[in-house]
């Protein structure tokens, strides 16, 4: 039997494929919803930073025998909180501080990894290993996914206001600080559960591209959420299937499909902007 000529629907017969698809879809949906908030808040770099910063947390957790996800979550959130603190107490801009802290933490993680007797595979952390997920991980990802999606979608109006005009949120006596940390915690959580699927280098794409693509399609935030999730899920499923046929890195294929959809959307948007030029200002 030739692996590369099987029709794609037969791939669903493999259990590892079904599990990979479930994890891929859940991770894509979570990251897509979050990406809409991140790009509007100007936090694209924050996803990059937090994802790199989780490395020392993972290595330390494995050395101490703790669940890896706990170490990763603490380290990721720690990076975001620390850079907020340094920014407030210095004259530096947030992206500068963030850049120093996350690269520092990533470096620390690499050094710890080379010195520590752990059973971790560095390339699984960096690039993910979605075809090797365990049944427990499928459950863990799905439960966290449902939790994250329901919290974020239920509070989406407040979170959107936080991204749009934080001062107004504070003037209305909304819990702006709590919402800020809610968004950060959700970001750290999504990165932690996405590590298995796409790895910490490419999770950044999952946290930016779907939202950016959706923004090109619509001026309504609710529709933006819908489009982002659809784009992310389609990319995830087709990326996983494509990677099977080309024997390529799964995460890379997913990200490539996302980038391709973004490019097509961008071209479509330019075309529309050109056709309606003068009739209506296009953002």
């Amino acid at each position: 039997m030739n692996l590369y000529t099987e029709p794609w629907w037969e791939l669903f017969g493999y259990e590892f494929m079904r599990e990979a698809l479930v994890v891929g879809v859940v991770v894509a949906a979570m990251a897509a919803v979050l990406s809409c908030f991140l790009i509007l808040k100007g936090w694209s770099l924050m996803g990059d930073a937090v994802s790199h910063a989780v490395l020392p947390g993972i290595v330390l957790a494995s050395m101490l025998g703790l669940p890896l996800a706990v170490g990763a979550f603490v380290a990721g959130l720690g990076c975001a909180v620390a850079s907020g603190f340094v920014k407030r107490h210095s004259r530096l801009k947030e992206d500068t501080v963030l850049g120093v802290i996350f690269t520092g933490m990533f470096g620390l993680g690499l050094v710890l990894y080379s010195k520590a007797p752990t059973v971790l595979h560095l390339d699984h952390i960096l690039f993910g290993n979605i075809l090797g997920v365990s049944r427990a991980q499928v459950w863990q990802t799905s439960l966290i996914g449902v939790g994250v999606l329901s919290v974020v979608l239920a509070r989406r109006r407040d979170l959107l206001l936080l991204c749009f005009d934080e001062r107004h949120a504070r003037a209305l006596a909304l819990p702006a600080t709590a919402l800020h940390y809610l968004l950060l915690s959700v970001l750290a959580l999504v990165i932690v559960v996405s590590l298995q699927a796409v790895g910490l280098l490419l999770v950044v794409a999952m946290l930016i591209t779907p939202g950016a693509t959706a923004r090109l399609w619509t001026d309504s935030f609710d529709w933006m959420l819908v489009v982002a999730v659809v784009v992310a899920v389609v990319s995830s499923v087709s990326g996983i299937l494509i990677s099977y046929y080309v024997s390529g890195s799964t995460a890379a294929c997913v990200v490539l499909v996302q980038a391709a959809i973004f490019l097509l959307s961008l071209m479509g948007w330019r075309l529309r902007a050109w056709r309606f030029r003068g009739a209506r200002r296009v953002p």
Binding site: L40, H89, A154, R157, A169, A171, L172, D219, F221, P283
Partner: protein, 309 residues
């Protein structure tokens, strides 16, 4: 609790006493700033860049913790006033992301979030408040537009409508007239006057020195502290403005020969690159506004002759 607070706002009172603010990075933005306002009034907040105008705004909204002194609204802490939806903030246009995927309706509805339920689902009362606010600023027809698709003057009015929908009584406006045509400026001023009549305190931070005496009853001159406060006519003197701005303002002094030598008048123009503030004889007061204020003019003349001696 909310209702009792609104009853109290009949005589809304803002008090800033001995306010000092030092930021975490060591920057001292304000010290010993004191003034008080009672509704309804329109108060201009004037001072050069970095004079602490935005810090003062932040203190009135409870964003910064004072290192000294206190801000009270109706005698209570700012936090309680915020909870009662008393404080509304109209941001500077430059601070708004106009590409944000929200419509005019969405933005004005955001004014209601503080009094909406947990999920922020709009009820009939909220929708009516939004509609009324939009009609008041003549933006009802534009409610479905993405905010970036509006003209400069319309953009300003969206955020004013948000403050109306919120029902704020202490309304803080940050540079409402920058980049706005005269017609919009007029419309905004008319609206502010209506709000004043209903007992609101309106604090306007502005660079537009020329427009302050026109529509502000009171003025606060700021430069790291409150240099002068009170009725605009007594605060807006050449002396006070020079003290507040130092050399920042452009001075154009026209000698007699520049104007008309025959009747011995001279004109001085001071501007912060906005509409100029014109000092003629007897200080700043346009001739059309002089009626009924003879005592003020006499007072100024008396002081001037005293100073000359």
């Amino acid at each position: 609790m909310t209702t009792s607070f609104h009853d109290l706002t009949r005589g809304l009172r803002l008090e800033v006493s001995g306010l000092g603010v030092v930021y975490a990075n060591g920057h001292r933005a304000l010290s010993g700033a004191s003034f008080s306002l009672t509704g309804g009034t329109i108060c201009g907040l004037v001072g050069p860049n970095g004079s602490g105008k935005s810090t003062l705004f932040k203190s009135m909204m409870g964003f910064v913790r004072p290192s000294a002194g206190v801000v009270t609204i109706n005698g209570g802490p700012v936090r309680e006033a915020l909870k009662a939806q008393v404080v509304a903030y109209v941001p500077q246009a430059e601070e708004v992301d106009w590409d944000f995927p929200v419509s005019v309706w969405d933005v004005v509805l955001m004014g209601r979030y503080g009094s909406m339920n947990f999920l922020r689902r709009a009820r009939l009362a909220d929708r009516l408040a939004v509609e009324e606010s939009l009609r008041r600023v003549s933006l009802w027809e534009f409610r479905d537009r993405q905010i970036g698709e509006l003209s400069g003057g319309q953009k300003k009015r969206v955020f004013l409508a948000r403050a109306l929908a919120q029902g704020g009584r202490l309304i803080l406006l940050d540079e409402p007239f920058t980049g706005v045509d005269v017609q919009t400026e007029e419309a905004i001023i008319i609206l502010l006057r209506e709000l004043r009549t209903s007992g609101c305190i309106i604090v306007v931070s502005t660079h537009n020195l020329g427009s302050v005496p026109e529509f502000c009853d009171q003025a606060v001159l700021l430069n790291k502290t409150v240099l002068a406060c009170g009725p605009t006519a007594s605060v807006f003197t050449e002396q006070n403005l020079t003290a507040a701005f130092g050399g920042v303002l452009r001075h154009f002094h026209f000698e007699r020969s520049t104007i008309q030598s025959h009747d011995g008048r001279s004109v001085k123009i001071m501007t912060d690159d906005e509409r100029p503030l014109v000092f003629g004889k007897d200080g700043h007061l346009e001739y059309k506004d002089r009626e009924g204020r003879e005592s003020l003019i006499d007072e100024r003349r008396r002081r001037e002759t005293e100073a000359e001696r």
